[in-house]
């Protein structure tokens, strides 16, 4: 039973990272109808940026994270202005391939830095590695950090979308771009904002992932799990994406514990298949129906 709870908390923590990346997918998709396949690489760039600021330039951790996230958000916004804008109104797969190409460029660019391609890097946490003990249960501080930060980010996003002008405008844009344009919302600027926010979310996920998997070239692979989460969440529902991410993380962890050897790698996808067949509109829709 103890190991069950132990594994469950790890699953939730990893699931939160999936969820954050899934959030960044959904945010972009809702606002611009583009499926971004570069979020994993953006996450990796985010990790390296913060690392460079922290270790390379000697900035303290918190300012380094803030600067890093802002820098990566600027990168996302800049890419929207220069390249991604052209994919607007094209079929889905144009944006997919465009972002895939941009991802390749980012990955290649980071690889050209020898210090980055030679190994993995540690982003030191301010409060050490000592696990938090709740009775017999031990929670790693990095897992706790992920969970707390995810809750904070989700809260901040929800406030942003409900109570700020930009947030409301972005929402209006996602619901009805023509209508939004008619009432004077600068739709193009909102697209830039969405890509910037999406990049920022991925960068935050990268920073949170750093103490768990370290900063390295392949850390963006996690997006392969986040994308199913986004779809499972319904592609247009922010809480759905987050929940689906946690669902996949937990399913994966528990399958490893409870199922015979070899089952754990198939189970998340088998579950995904089952969930898709049971709730063809994604968890987000199912959630909404439940509420009614």
């Amino acid at each position: 039973m103890l190991s069950f709870v132990q594994v469950l908390t790890s699953g939730i923590a990893i699931g939160c990272v999936y969820g954050l990346v899934a959030l960044s997918f959904v945010l972009i998709y809702k606002a611009t109808a583009a499926v971004s396949f570069m979020q994993g690489e953006v996450l990796m760039v985010g990790g390296f940026t913060v690392l460079a600021l922290n270790v390379g330039l000697g900035l303290p951790l918190l300012p380094a994270i803030l600067c890093g996230v802002v820098l990566v958000a600027t990168l996302g916004a800049g890419l929207e202005r220069s390249v991604l804008r052209r994919a607007l109104g094209q079929p889905h797969l144009t944006a997919v391939l465009l972002t895939f190409g941009l991802g390749l460029i980012m990955r290649g660019a980071v690889t050209t830095v020898p210090a980055a391609s030679h190994g993995m890097h540690r982003l030191a946490l301010p409060f050490g590695d000592e696990p938090l003990r709740l009775g017999a249960l031990a929670i790693a501080p990095q897992h706790l950090l992920v969970i707390v930060a995810t809750v904070a980010v989700a809260g901040a996003l929800s406030l942003f979308f409900r109570h700020t002008r930009a947030g409301l405008a972005l929402r209006a844009c996602s619901e009805n771009p023509q209508g939004a344009a008619l009432v004077g919302i600068p739709v193009a600027a909102m697209h830039t904002l969405a890509w910037g926010l999406g990049a920022a979310l991925a960068a935050i996920a990268g920073v949170l992932l750093a103490p768990i998997t370290f900063v390295h070239l392949g850390m963006g692979l996690i997006a392969l799990k986040a994308f199913p989460a986004a779809v499972l969440g319904g592609m247009t529902s922010l809480p759905g994406a987050l929940l689906a991410g946690i669902f996949i993380g937990v399913a994966e962890a528990l399958a490893g514990l409870l199922l015979p050897e070899g089952g754990k790698d198939v189970v998340p996808y088998a579950l995904l298949m089952a969930a898709l067949l049971l709730f063809p509109g994604g968890l987000g829709t199912a959630l909404r129906q439940l509420r009614r």
Binding site: V7, T111, H216, G256, L257, G262
Partner: protein
């Protein structure tokens, strides 16, 4: 205007420059050596330092006047772990660049897809990084290997550990690919020699983020010794997870986890971890003057500190240089192979093993040694295990 025409002109130009040598890859003043690496794929973190290590050795040789007056040139193709690109890269190196030999091709799919083509073209296939026996067995005049598959090292190391510590329930956590399977074979063989069987095994997929369920599983099985067929990150994750939950089991990691990164990243959690070392890590702290100078040279040249993979790249290239020197001024494939078959190396600056090749044995080394992380760095705790 078709762009083809420009392309064709440019290509024809380079082709005519490259042609004219008598035996493939060897001209009056140059030896060309090919290598198919992963510089952008899933194991780019190995590929980059291996390549840099090889480059440094060749540049050192060139600075010393080359090998019998011939400059060494390393032609690296990036296949990104993709066998399709590897096959084409091999054809390019064989036919277009006319390389003399292939050195340290990286990754099993890459090696298995290209090796037949390479030996078919009569080029030596030297020291690939792949844990497959077929890289040196059955004996082939052109296939040489410098490290045994993990099997041999792990069998000896497991036996040694179980013998000296009296474990009764040995378990395995492995990556479910060819690497993990090789280790499993070795561990099973080692346990068999002491009359035991593997108590429990569990696997993870490459790139897995979280190993908590695997560790919980091993713990539930009551293991008193865990062999890790992991790479750096998973090694740290497994150790950290076990220690976090208060499970102080002994763990032994393969040569893939024997890396300074393991303790740099793992910190206190990996203290006490055992590892199999084939080539010691080049620590700057406490290095011999020769090694310290090498580390400084590497850092100045590539802008990053060398790691154990850099040392391997350098060693691989060093074996090539030594064999080429012994082959004499009339370098040909035959004279090179003959020289390599008689090569017995001396101790190197890294403190690595001595490599011995013969006409009947193309595997240079079969023995690793045990190391343990103590006070935040790897320390060797045994001699080479036989």
């Amino acid at each position: 205007m078709f762009p083809f025409r420009h392309l064709a002109a440019a290509l024809l130009c380079t082709l005519s420059l490259g042609a004219g040598a008598q035996s493939p890859g060897v001209s009056r003043d140059e030896i060309r050596v090919g290598s198919i690496q992963d510089l952008s794929g899933p194991i780019a973190m190995l590929g980059s330092p291996v390549r840099d290590g090889m480059l440094l050795r060749f540049e050192d040789a060139n600075a010393a006047g080359g090998v019998h007056g011939r400059r060494l040139r390393l032609l690296v193709e990036d296949a990104g772990y993709d066998p399709k690109r590897a096959v084409l890269a091999a054809r390019k190196l064989i036919q277009r660049d006319r390389v003399f030999a292939f050195l340290a091709n990286l990754g099993t799919p890459v090696v298995m897809a290209t090796m037949p083509m390479v030996v078919e073209a009569g080029r030596p296939h030297l020291f690939p990084f792949s844990p497959h026996e077929s890289t040196y067995l059955p004996l082939h005049p052109l296939k040489f290997q410098m490290f045994a598959p993990y099997q041999d090292y792990m069998a000896a190391a497991t036996r040694h550990m179980v013998d000296s510590k009296g474990y009764t329930r040995s378990c395995l956590l492995y990556q479910d690919d060819d690497y993990g399977l090789e280790v499993m074979k070795g561990v099973e063989a080692g346990l068999q020699e002491v009359g035991q069987v593997l108590h429990e095994r569990t696997s993870y997929k490459r790139g897995a983020t979280d190993l908590s369920s695997q560790v919980a599983r091993l713990r539930a099985a009551g293991c008193d010794f865990v062999v890790l067929a992991t790479v750096v990150r998973e090694t740290v994750a497994a150790m950290a997870e076990a220690r976090k939950t208060g499970w102080n089991v002994d763990m032994l990691v393969t040569a893939s986890g024997y890396s300074a990164q393991t303790h740099e990243l793992g910190g206190a959690a990996v203290e006490g971890l055992y590892g199999v070392a084939v080539l010691p890590h080049p620590y700057a702290d406490g290095a011999s003057p020769a090694l310290a100078a090498w580390i400084e040279r590497y850092r100045a040249r590539f802008g990053a500190a060398p790691n154990v993979w850099s040392a391997m790249g350098y060693t691989v290239a060093d074996l090539f240089v030594q064999a080429a020197e012994r082959a004499g001024p009339e370098l040909s494939t035959a004279s090179f192979v003959a020289a390599l078959e008689n090569l017995h190396t001396d101790a190197d600056i890294f403190g690595g093993p001595r490599y011995r090749f013969s006409a009947h044995d193309h595997l240079g080394n079969r023995h690793g040694r045990l190391a343990q992380i103590r006070d935040g760095r790897w320390q060797l705790i045994s001699d080479y295990l036989h």
